[in-house]
């Protein structure tokens, strides 16, 4: 039963934004990680979105509704900054340490954008629920 309109669409968006927030949190947490299982410093993860058709009822020939999903989580290949720190356990022969390519300013902006998108989607579904409740009161 699909009583709240567009709830599938919003559910997909909420999942996608939540995943994006998780990745941003992971980036921030690993902003100083110079040693990973692969050997090099931590590479920033980037999320990319794509539309996904919602399995829904016939739309009388119009454009079908689309929700969003995370298409891929890829590593940002740009090399991180090299910092001169001979005391660092991961310093190379020249005393330079390659830091992760995580820029905290970018990550914070991403965090805020993802949170705002999440809240916007929440208000959409809240509104849809209110509309459904109003419809139920017809005639009373």
């Amino acid at each position: 039963m699909n009583l709240i309109s567009g709830v599938d669409v919003t559910a997909g968006a909420l999942n996608a934004q939540k995943l994006r927030l998780d990745i941003v949190a992971q980036n921030i947490a690993n902003a100083e990680t110079t040693r990973t299982a692969e050997g090099g410093p931590y590479q920033r993860q980037v999320v990319s979105f794509a539309t996904e058709l919602v399995k829904q009822q016939a739309n009388n020939g119009g454009i079908p509704l689309q929700t969003v999903k995370v298409a891929s989580i890829t590593s940002d290949p740009t090399p991180g900054q090299k910092v001169y720190n001979p005391q660092h356990p991961d310093a190379g022969a020249d005393g330079m340490v390659t830091m992760p390519n995580v820029n905290l300013a970018f990550e914070m902006v991403d965090l805020i954008t993802a949170s705002r998108a999440y809240e916007a989607n929440l208000s959409v579904v809240k509104n849809a629920k209110q509309m459904a409740e109003k419809a139920l009161e017809i005639g009373h």
Partner: protein, 148 residues
Amino acid sequence: MGSGLREADGGWHRLCLTRPVMIEPIFQTDTYQLARKLLDVSALRQEAIASNVANAETPGYRRLDVAPAFDQQLKAQMASGTLGTAPTLQPTLAEDSSATSTKPDGNNVEIESELLAMNRNSVDYDYLTQVVSSNLKQLKMAISGNVT
């Protein structure tokens, strides 16, 4: 059944005897039928806004809205008076051609304007349910004779 009827037959209204549909006409006022159709539009618009907000950052996504052709078709039906009896006219979703492209990746959704549109749509929906509701309540009052 139509034969043998005469005007002098106890005052029965001719239409009540020959007309095959009795109840349908009380629901045929323009206002009521228009409000019903516009409720469809409003519900569809809410879904379009949900899709737009969800895809506010998807590259290449174009904003969706109710197809503007529906408005003209509805007006034409109203003018010709076939609103209640015409074959059902349903609104459809289409890409909004009046939106301007704002981002370099081709996405033309602005979350603020979507939320504003959603608020407006919500009030429209409330108003339309009020119109339909008060029509139905009036009918009920007329039938039962009770005022409450």
